[in-house]
């Protein structure tokens, strides 16, 4: 019987760790802000925007991402005065939630811009996260876009089969059928991948590059 190879060394990338810490630091600072400390919020916002500009994020992309995020955070924040009453103090709390959320969102945007996901996976492995978690995460990352495309293909097939505009109930039934088909295809694919991995000597342990 062949002895298993030792697992790959867990070497922490200082740059990746620094980026993670910087982003977490900005989020912690943002979450300590209040309505009264708006100058500090403005300064933090300016620093985050400058970091985003240095990271090469275009104004168009920023506007597109904010257009998706701001309605959501506004909806979340508005639930406070909606339940407690539209008084000055609750409106200020809602505004505080929006400010904190927006700065934290921009810090997160900066992080995903400067820290590629594969580097993040390596960093998590180096930080001694269980190998099974890191390997599952890597497997998910590997097949995420495959299943995404599969979903797109199913959607196009549905449109091609059914011309015209279906009613709402039909749309729900079709959507359920689509997710159900996606489940069957994904689990079949997962079993095929498992058999292929076993054929290549997979025993549940991560191996280093040869």
């Amino acid at each position: 019987m062949v002895d298993p190879l030792p697992p790959p060394p867990r070497v922490v990338s200082a740059a990746a760790l620094l980026k993670l810490m910087a982003s977490l630091g900005v989020v912690l600072l943002a979450c300590s802000l209040s309505w009264e400390s708006w100058p500090a919020a403005g300064a933090l916002l300016a620093v985050t925007l400058a970091a985003l500009a240095i990271a090469g994020l275009t104004l168009r992309t920023l506007a597109r991402r904010l257009a998706l995020f701001l309605p959501v955070i506004t909806l979340v924040a508005i639930s406070i005065p909606l339940s407690q009453g539209f008084t000055a103090s609750w409106m200020q709390l809602a505004a505080t939630v929006i400010i904190r959320g927006a700065v934290s969102f921009l810090a997160g945007l900066w992080l995903i811009r400067v820290l590629p996901f594969d580097s993040l996976i390596s960093t998590l492995y180096a930080l001694r996260l269980p190998a099974v978690v890191v390997a599952s995460l890597a497997m998910m990352y590997r097949y995420l876009f495959v299943l995404w495309e599969e979903t797109g293909r199913l959607r196009i097939a549905r449109k091609a089969r059914c011309l015209g505009r279906p009613n709402r109930i039909t749309q729900w039934l079709a959507g359920i059928g689509m997710v159900g088909m996606l489940v069957i295809r994904s689990l079949d694919r997962g079993q095929r991948i498992h058999r292929a991995m076993l054929a290549r000597g997979w025993d549940g342990h991560i191996r280093p590059w040869p």
């Binding site: 943002a30 590997r142 689990l187």
Partner: protein, 323 residues
């Protein structure tokens, strides 16, 4: 469903993050002896599947649409432990690849969707399936019920976390916030139930072997779930009750505002109040913690006694099927 950063206070995020870490860590520990070498490909694939499934939009009203959360679905496909890990990975990827949800709020999000959704959801659907029998209909009913209750449980917990985050404000009325949250989430829960139930029916009628079946050797798997649930509840009490507000709740505030006479003690209670178990002076915080622990254990005991008929039903059903 994703909580952004800034809505909850940092201590609340850290405490819920700690609870999530323990729950997910225990799930990973349990996976080592249940799925072995299948864990990585199947968990990774189902996590990717839940993510892709969330891309399918379901029209609601006025141009808006909703999508699947997928926690109960993942638990039904992989079992509670791998399902919990898969949902955690989904939330992690949504944060670090698409910046969806908060960084600090990853802890509460994992607690609400992965831990309550998968572990709680699996426990509920198992209990329902035990009552209705292991048929396609029983499985679908179990998933429908579990989906609705896990969404509502997450909404209640989120409201409580929000109340604790703003405990310093005596005007905050948890009851009104809770009512709003439960109203919205009751509708979201119906959508989640319909989608999850429909998908499980689709799979169970075409490829039933793909659904998770608990290992036969485990005997009474609910016992471990019970212990895990009790441990989680005690941990929540231990960590969150010292942060509870001393301000009056909605009912007490309403009584005060209406200038009604203060309610008199019934005379039958063992303690003068939650903060007076260990005496009046200086021990208030510890008294609240102790009250929470006693209350949790008493409720747990009552639930165990009331749950005995369920156990007997399942035992007699198993005996009948063997005979």
């Amino acid at each position: 469903m994703h909580i952004p950063d800034g809505l909850l206070d940092t201590p609340v995020c850290l405490v819920t993050g700690g609870i999530s870490l323990v729950a997910v860590g225990y799930s990973v520990h349990r996976l080592k002896d249940s799925l072995a070498d299948r864990t990585v490909p199947m968990t990774g694939m189902v996590a990717a599947l839940v993510f892709a499934g969330q891309m399918v939009n379901f029209p609601v009203a006025a141009g808006t649409s909703g999508h699947l959360v997928g926690a109960v679905l993942a638990a039904r496909l992989l079992g509670p432990w791998a399902g919990c890990l898969a949902l955690t990975l989904v939330l992690f990827v949504q944060k670090f690849l698409f910046n969806d949800g908060g960084l600090l709020a990853l802890g509460p999000n994992v607690l609400h969707m992965a831990v309550i959704g998968c572990l709680g959801g699996y426990a509920i659907q198992s209990a329902v399936a035990r009552l209705t029998g292991d048929t396609v209909r029983g499985r679908v009913i179990g998933v429908v019920v579990a989906s609705w209750f896990t969404v509502m449980a997450a909404a209640v917990l989120c409201s409580v976390e929000f109340a604790i985050s703003h405990a310093a404000n005596p005007d905050f009325q948890l009851g009104r916030f809770l009512a709003l949250m439960m109203l919205f989430h009751a509708l979201i829960g119906i959508g989640e139930s319909l989608i999850s139930g429909g998908v499980i029916r689709f799979v169970a009628t075409r490829r039933p072997e793909l659904l998770y079946n608990p290992p036969a050797s485990s005997g009474r798997p609910w016992r471990r779930t019970l212990v895990a649930g009790l441990a989680t509840a005690l941990l929540v009490v231990l960590l969150l009750s010292p942060l509870a507000s001393s301000a009056p709740d909605g009912l007490e505030a309403a009584v005060q505002q209406s200038e009604l006479p203060a309610p008199q003690s019934a005379g039958l209670s063992l303690f003068g109040g939650y903060d007076q178990v260990l005496g009046d002076e200086g021990w208030e915080s510890w008294s609240v913690v102790l009250s929470g622990l006693i209350g949790t254990l008493v409720v747990f005991g009552i639930a165990l006694v009331l749950g005995r008929p369920l156990d007997r039903t399942s035992d007699s059903a198993a005996g009948a099927s063997r005979g």
